[in-house]
């Protein structure tokens, strides 16, 4: 977000609101700034005791960012800033409840196991979504099936809770424990919620429990950017809140500081009832590009970057007096499969790029396993040991995990290993780790350590070689001294928190639309503007698909390109049905030259054929 020196009257009104307020903040309207402004207003102008302020976010990263922006000093740190989950956990632990949370890795493992055991024809992801949906929409027991029960029993076996359980326990507790409810209600006079559109029903019900008639509620978000319905987010939550609390004030932030005029004008057509006004005076550019197939589409994108930057070698050189960097470009797509050809073409061109989100190198199974082992070596505690055992790479028999976990009480790795009976597979791992610990203690350097991990666990093979090589070369920058591992682990957790997006490096960004939420770029290309991609018609909600397109388009500051092909994966495609909504002034349609050539050649050929028929 650019620095906004002057607040708009809408922002001002939201920040200084006396009662409860719903702030609908469209893309680029200064949402975070307004939220921060509100907190400062409460503290500095209304002199609210920071103890009374609760700020709820949807990701740890967002919570962290708010803390950083507030530049929290000791006095202000009395503000509670966290996610719904961290808030729930904190309160429940405070109340003396013992809750052990299952790690995400373990949860994945359990799910995969059920899929395998029960021979289910579903993906781990959709299974997880089902479980989550079931738990969040508790009331609807028709969704309950034996698989979910199985999942639950496996969790309970180890006395574990998942994140959804955490919220429902909290919800039940609030409903039953009047004292606790009153305590929270009287403590938090001011509750602020960021990204309110991501709230699910259960979270909303929790919210209702912690507010009373004296509470001041400040929720901010954009219903048009709700793209997590599949995770249970409730796009209707804004109107739900309005229905339940009719006195709540409605404020819309309508000035878009981010995007040039045409981009705002065209994306407004998706939601004509809540239009934004561009603050920028430049018109910018919105283009719709038709191309032949996925290859020509990727070539077109590579060419766009190349010419914008003014050529990469002598043959393409053109003058460029604008400030353009590789990192000013983002290529967005519906799913990662779509980016395969593009990645290939970018590699050929030599243009530096980074894939952010779930397709990063560190998310690869083998690399993530090595990182787990490094974490364990650096800090030899049971929790880190579990991380190794739970890692997908080992594909360990679940029963072994149970045996290890059954060994309660003694939390020390050293005690544990001498007490576990020789379980097949397990002993082997322990022995390997033993040797690695020895090397680590002998001061073997980071890279060498990684090489021996690869060696011992037979990680390197033809298909993983390139990843491992790349990983090793990245490690070199952390040196080979006593602090190397520590430095590296810090780096990884930093990247992880940032969705594997290294903002400082000057590279073109490749991302799914989902992962690009909240980011902004001068030039944005949205690939695959076709039916079945944007929108995904089967099984999807067309409304959610529209919001997804809205999120994609509104990432662009100066230029926005939507590309579509005639043929993809050897099948004929159809341009996105959303074209009918966004078409009109401000959008320029263009046919890719490669397609033009192709059409001309075809016409020529047809003409010749038809002429031949006369003979």
């Amino acid at each position: 977000m650019n620095v906004i020196f002057q607040r708009t009257s809408e922002q001002e009104k939201a920040i200084k609101s006396q009662g409860s307020v719903i702030v609908k903040a469209g893309p680029g309207t200064g949402k975070t700034m307004t939220l921060i402004g509100r907190i400062y207003f409460l503290l500095n102008d209304l002199k609210i005791n920071p103890e009374e302020i609760l700020v709820l976010t949807f990701t740890q990263k967002a919570a962290q960012e708010i803390k950083e922006r507030l530049n929290i000093e000791s006095e202000k740190s009395a503000i509670t800033v966290g996610t719904f989950h961290s808030f729930a956990l904190e309160v429940l632990l405070d109340e003396g409840l013992k809750i052990k949370l299952a790690s995400e890795a373990l949860r994945q493992k359990i799910i995969k196991e059920i899929i395998l055991e029960e021979r289910l024809k579903t993906t781990a992801r959709s299974f997880a979504e089902n479980v989550s949906n079931f738990k969040n929409f508790n009331s609807n027991s028709s969704n309950l099936n034996k698989d979910i029960l199985l999942y639950q029993s496996k969790l309970e076996r180890d006395d574990l809770k998942d994140f959804d359980d955490l919220l429902s326990i909290f919800h039940t507790k609030l409903k039953e424990d009047l004292k606790l409810k009153n305590k929270l209600q009287s403590r938090f006079g001011h509750i602020l919620i960021d990204e309110f559109q991501d709230t699910n029903i259960l979270q909303y019900e929790i919210l209702k429990q912690v507010i009373n008639s004296r509470s001041h509620l400040f929720v901010i978000g954009d219903p048009n950017q709700s793209i997590y319905e599949f995770r249970g987010a409730d796009a209707q939550v804004f109107s739900r809140l309005k229905d339940d609390y009719s006195e709540i004030e409605d404020i819309r932030l309508t000035k878009n500081f981010r995007s040039c005029q045409d981009i705002v004008q065209v994306s407004n057509r998706l939601f004509p009832k809540s239009p934004l006004n561009p603050n920028q005076t430049d018109r910018g550019k919105v283009m719709l590009i038709e191309t032949l197939n996925e290859y020509t589409e990727s070539e077109w994108i590579v060419n766009l970057i190349t010419t914008s930057i003014g050529g990469l070698d002598l043959n393409q050189a053109v003058s460029n007096d604008k400030e353009v960097n590789f990192s000013d470009f983002a290529i967005l797509y519906r799913n990662h499969n779509l980016s395969k050809i593009l990645v290939q073409k970018l590699k050929e061109s030599g243009i530096p790029f980074q894939r952010i989100g779930e397709s990063s190198l560190y998310e690869k199974k083998e690399v993530s396993f090595i990182i787990c082992v490094l974490k364990f070596l650096n800090h030899q505690v049971m929790d880190n040991f579990y991380l190794i055992l739970e890692n997908d790479f080992l594909n360990l028999d679940y029963k072994i995990l149970h045996k290890v976990k059954d060994f309660n009480g003694k939390k020390i790795w050293l005690d544990m290993k001498s007490n576990i009976s020789s379980e097949k597979g397990f002993t082997e791992i322990v022995l390997k780790l033993e040797e690695l610990i020895k090397s680590f203690k002998d001061g073997v350097g980071l890279q060498q350590l990684v090489l021996s991990i690869c060696d011992k666990f037979q990680i390197k093979n033809e298909s993983t070689n390139l990843d491992i090589e790349q990983f090793l070369s990245i490690l070199i920058q952390f040196g080979n001294d006593n602090y190397s591992i520590d430095k590296f682990i810090h780096f990884i957790s930093w990247l992880n928190e940032n969705n594997f997006y290294d903002k400082k490096s000057n590279k073109v960004v490749l991302s799914t639309i989902h992962s690009a939420k909240g980011l902004e770029f001068k030039y944005v290309v949205v690939m695959g503007f076709e039916d079945n991609l944007i929108p995904i018609i089967k099984g999807g909600s067309i409304k959610e698909e529209k919001r997804l397109l809205y999120v994609a388009m509104t990432r662009a500051k100066n230029e926005l390109y939507l590309t579509y092909t005639r043929i993809r994966n050897k099948r004929k495609t159809k341009i996105s049905q959303f074209k009918n909504i966004i078409k009109g002034e401000g959008i320029v349609e263009m046919v890719d030259k490669s397609l033009e050539r192709r059409i001309k050649a075809k016409e020529k050929w047809k003409l010749r054929n038809s002429q031949l028929k006369f003979f």
């Binding site: 070698d313 960097n325 920058q477």
Partner: protein
């Protein structure tokens, strides 16, 4: 010991390069040409780097030689006259830095020279995070040149960083299209770490000496070869033993160990002078300035060349020579001399046959062009060649500067008559 050093060239892993740009090819042509120390080029490329580690072995400090078994194989095919010369390799790479600074896209090519495989590994690992090293032997990085310099300095102070072919319009530090107006502008507080610049084919030391910032730093020349036949077409001459650290310190101190450079005539470049090809207008920098860059024929902006760019940044007049200046030797490649004597194209078989005959008889190309007394050349059976070499050594050549995309012409003879009058029948060639 006099060494002819060529630090900037490319492997077959770079775009638009010859397939024969292998270590073997470089070794062989190094002996034919008479280059003593040859840059490996492209050390950032993973496959080339692993080839370097496979086929090279450490020789003198910081330098490498081809493994004896491989070298022996090549030597078998070479004549006695060129076989004996030792060839050393030095680890080098060129990087294309593309980034925005001070409101403009900047594209600079920079040369990096390193003393060991370990240092190269470290450089590569840094750069791996920044760009895609396997796409091209000369990788593109969205990294400020200054940051690249910082990385090099951080890894090892003996790594040398040199802005490459600094006057080419599109990809160079002083390039008119996407360069800077000063070293200071490009490297800020690290300007002092720029100890040398590369002339490139489009400039010679004389042009560079006019620039204030270049008065005290080393001016070096390299071939930027894209095929092994072209290595050493420009090069730097040192007076020092085979030793990376001596070569580097000669450059850093710009001292008497750096003897000078071997140069192309810069007028040969496509954009040396200013003008309009279609209007048939060709102008020197001074003339262009008088005309305010406007073409007298079509009244549009003239295409200005490298010489104009130099005069734009220059603090000193044409012909200015700093106190601590080096020797400048202009050459015309031997095959081109032969081609002109014969009056045929350089790519013909008759030229290459004669070229082989000449070096098999007399020794490597640089020896012929620079050292062997013309009397001996003549006595060996090449009297016309000896006369031609004498002309080149005395710079008595016909120069027609290039402009607006038209290559310049450097010739021994003004025209066909002059050629015919020169040495009779050319029969001996």
């Amino acid at each position: 010991m006099q060494l002819i050093v060529d630090l900037h060239l490319h492997s077959h892993f770079s775009r638009a390069t010859s397939k024969s740009l292998t270590l073997e090819g470089l070794y062989k042509w190094g002996k034919i040409k008479g280059v003593n120390v040859i840059g490996t080029g492209d050390f950032t490329h993973p496959s080339w780097f692993s080839e370097l580690r496979d086929k090279l072995e450490p020789a003198e400090p910081g330098l490498f030689r081809l493994k004896p078994t491989i070298a022996a194989d090549i030597d078998k095919s070479l004549s006695e006259s060129i076989k004996k010369q030792e060839i050393r390799f030095i680890l080098t790479s060129e990087i294309s830095n593309i980034y925005s600074k001070l409101g403009k896209v900047r594209k600079l090519h920079n040369l990096v020279i390193a003393p060991s495989f370990e240092d190269v590994s470290k450089i590569n690992s840094y750069l791996e995070r920044i760009g895609n090293l396997s796409a091209d032997g000369r990788p593109i990085l969205g990294l400020d040149s200054k940051e690249l310099l910082k990385i090099c300095l951080k890894i090892n102070e003996n790594i040398l960083f040199i802005p490459a072919h600094i006057w080419t319009p599109w990809f160079a530090m002083f390039g008119s299209k996407s360069g800077f107006d000063s070293i200071k502008e490009a490297f800020d507080e690290l300007s002092g770490e720029i100890v040398a610049v590369e002339t490139g084919l489009s400039s010679d030391p004389w042009m560079n000496w006019r620039i204030k910032e270049l008065q005290n730093i080393a001016i070096i020349s390299n071939s930027d070869a894209h095929s092994p036949q072209k290595i050493g077409r420009e090069a730097t001459i040192f007076d020092c033993p085979f030793d990376y650290f001596q070569i580097i310190s000669a450059i850093k101190n710009n001292d008497e160990r750096l003897l000078g450079t071997i140069e192309f005539f810069p007028e040969e470049g496509k954009y040396h002078f200013d003008g309009h090809r279609i209007c048939n207008v060709k102008l020197s920098a001074d003339e262009t300035k008088k005309l305010d860059r406007i073409c007298p024929v079509c009244h549009h902006q003239l295409t200005v060349g490298v010489n104009f760019r130099v005069s734009e940044l220059a603090s000193f007049p044409v012909g200015f020579k700093p106190e601590n200046h080096k020797k400048v030797e202009y050459i015309i490649p031997l095959p081109e001399i032969i081609a002109e004597l014969k009056g045929v194209s350089v790519s013909t078989k008759s030229v290459s046959d004669t070229f082989i005959k000449v070096y098999n008889t007399l020794g490597n190309e640089f020896a012929i062009l620079r050292n062997i007394p013309t009397k001996l050349i003549s006595e060996a059976g090449f009297p016309e060649l000896s006369l031609a070499v004498d002309l080149v050594r005395r710079n008595k050549v016909e120069i027609e500067p290039g402009y607006d995309g038209v290559y310049g012409k450097i010739r021994l003879f003004k025209d066909e008559r002059a050629r015919k009058n020169f040495g009779g029948q050319m029969s001996l060639l």
